[in-house]
Amino acid sequence: MHRELQNMLPITIFSQGGNIVMTILLISVILIALSALLNLYSPRPLYQQASTTILVTINFLFIAGFLWICWFHWQIYLKMPLELPENLIAWINRQLEVINRSSDYGMELYNAASPPRYKIPFWIENEKYYFWFMCYGIMALLVHFRLQSHRFRAMLHLFLALQVAILYFWVDPFSSPLPQFLGEIAPWYTPGQSMAAKAAGFMRLYPKMVFYYNAEYMWFHPPLLFISYGAITIIFITSVFMLLKRDLLIEKIGYVYAKLGFFMLTLGMLLGYPWALKAWGPNWWWDPKICSSLMMWAVFSTYLHTRLYANKKSMWKFTALLGIICFLAMIFTFLTSFYFPGEHTFQ
């Protein structure tokens, strides 16, 4: 990490605080996973009171960590304005005017009294996993209170444990916060830069700030999708149980989360559309992520349609199977960003 950024931002404090949260989270999910494994193989419920307490603690920790992330982003907003030297302002504004004339969506001119600041959403880079798994954690808690089946609860807990393990070992948002963003912005704060380097740096950073980091759609499109991902995980667990036995309550709970998931997914995808037009122009249709998202939406839509007839003997298992395919489609869609090039790529 650049020394300048270390001096400007409370990165060390953020990481230390986050590591405490993550460590307690990991210990909590180890305990809940042990209880879940015992319950999965036991004919009668075990440690239900304790697992409820741990689940509540996990959610409390998740929310505390999320607030900690919010605080860090607030520090970025306060301490990292893109300030230009006075003698560059007129030149930069002329360039922006030229760009704005040939574009449907312009960028605001530089104002020395109020330099542009980063309003980074709370779900970029590794933080998106944190938000996604936190949403699942909250949903798992709500389902845990609604359903008494100890095996079903055990599956909910095991999934939560798996997600926290992924978070802790591979995508911890605290140990190395926002590496891509800070890597992009670090050269801007290097002291002793020439005017040309400063101007080039601004023209590189400012459009991405306007159309990506500060885009208003960023506050709706990704979080709605991550909420739907959490709901689809619940649908997956209910669908697996539907395959094993005909339990109407489990099916009903699956449907409650299917409604929520479909609502969030559709809204999230719709809100991505005007953003894509604004940020990428017309050449993004049939992008791999768009393809996979359409595929997932089509599968989800099919699931909701067949679910109307779930009580028919032949449709019960078919609906359950579609719920499972829906989850697999979600995983596939998410991984698309890593393995397929395109506008959404994380590569």
Binding site: K259, L270, N283, W285, C291, P341, G342
Partner: protein, 207 residues
């Protein structure tokens, strides 16, 4: 009523098959995009790829639009009339398609669906009992009509892609209709409670 129910069931199965086919084409598109390295190509070649994929998916979108065209009047008409109207619609679409092109035929189908769906929506809004829905309840029916109205406008809106202002206005109409539709449809009970100020519990509130 049994006939109607099985009609609905087969329409849903047909929709499922078409959606599945569109899913498979989407997966094919992804792999083609990756292995042909479309992202590194010139914009004109990218547009060629987009056009080619549009051609591949077009028959299935046509099927989807036709299914939508058949689905919409089922809310209004008994099964006997439904078959007749479906035949009349298809009888209009085919010659229009031959005379003025596939696009014109589809546009006619969508315009007819829009007109019929608007009638369904207005009747649902007025609380008409003569509509045929799989589920009961004022808000569920209103929501379902709105979702389908939104979907029709969304597909129709693709015809106006070149006209940016109209395209975006229609897009936001679609979004509004879909959101309201889903809220009414999925959370009918809460909407009833909110509107009436009473607490009601129904066994189910789904489309």
């Amino acid at each position: 009523m049994k006939l109607k129910s099985s009609y609905d069931f087969y329409l849903i199965l047909a929709t499922t098959v078409v959606l599945f086919a569109i899913s498979l084409i989407s997966i094919y598109g992804m792999f083609y995009f990756k292995f042909a390295q479309i992202h590194q190509m010139d914009p004109s070649l990218k547009i060629m790829y987009m056009n080619r994929m549009n051609e591949v998916v077009a028959p299935f979108i046509i099927c989807l639009i036709l299914l939508l065209g058949i689905c919409v009047p089922k809310r209004l008409l008994p099964t006997v009339w439904l078959n007749r109207i479906t035949l009349i619609l298809l009888a209009c679409v085919v010659p229009i398609g031959f005379l003025y092109g596939v696009k014109a035929g589809l546009f006619f189908m969508l315009a007819a669906s829009l007109a019929l769906q608007t009638i369904v929506f207005l009747m649902a809004l007025a609380g008409s009992k003569s509509l045929y829905f799989h589920k009961k309840g004022y808000w569920v029916r209103l929501g379902s009509s709105l979702i389908h109205l939104g979907l029709i406008i969304f597909i129709l809106d693709l015809f106006f892609y070149a006209n940016k202002t109209l395209h975006l206005v229609l897009f936001w109409v679609t979004t509004g209709a879909s959101i309201l539709g889903m809220v009414f449809c999925f959370y009918a009970e809460s909407v009833v409670n909110l509107v009436t100020g009473r607490k009601t519990v129904s066994d189910e509130n789904i489309t």
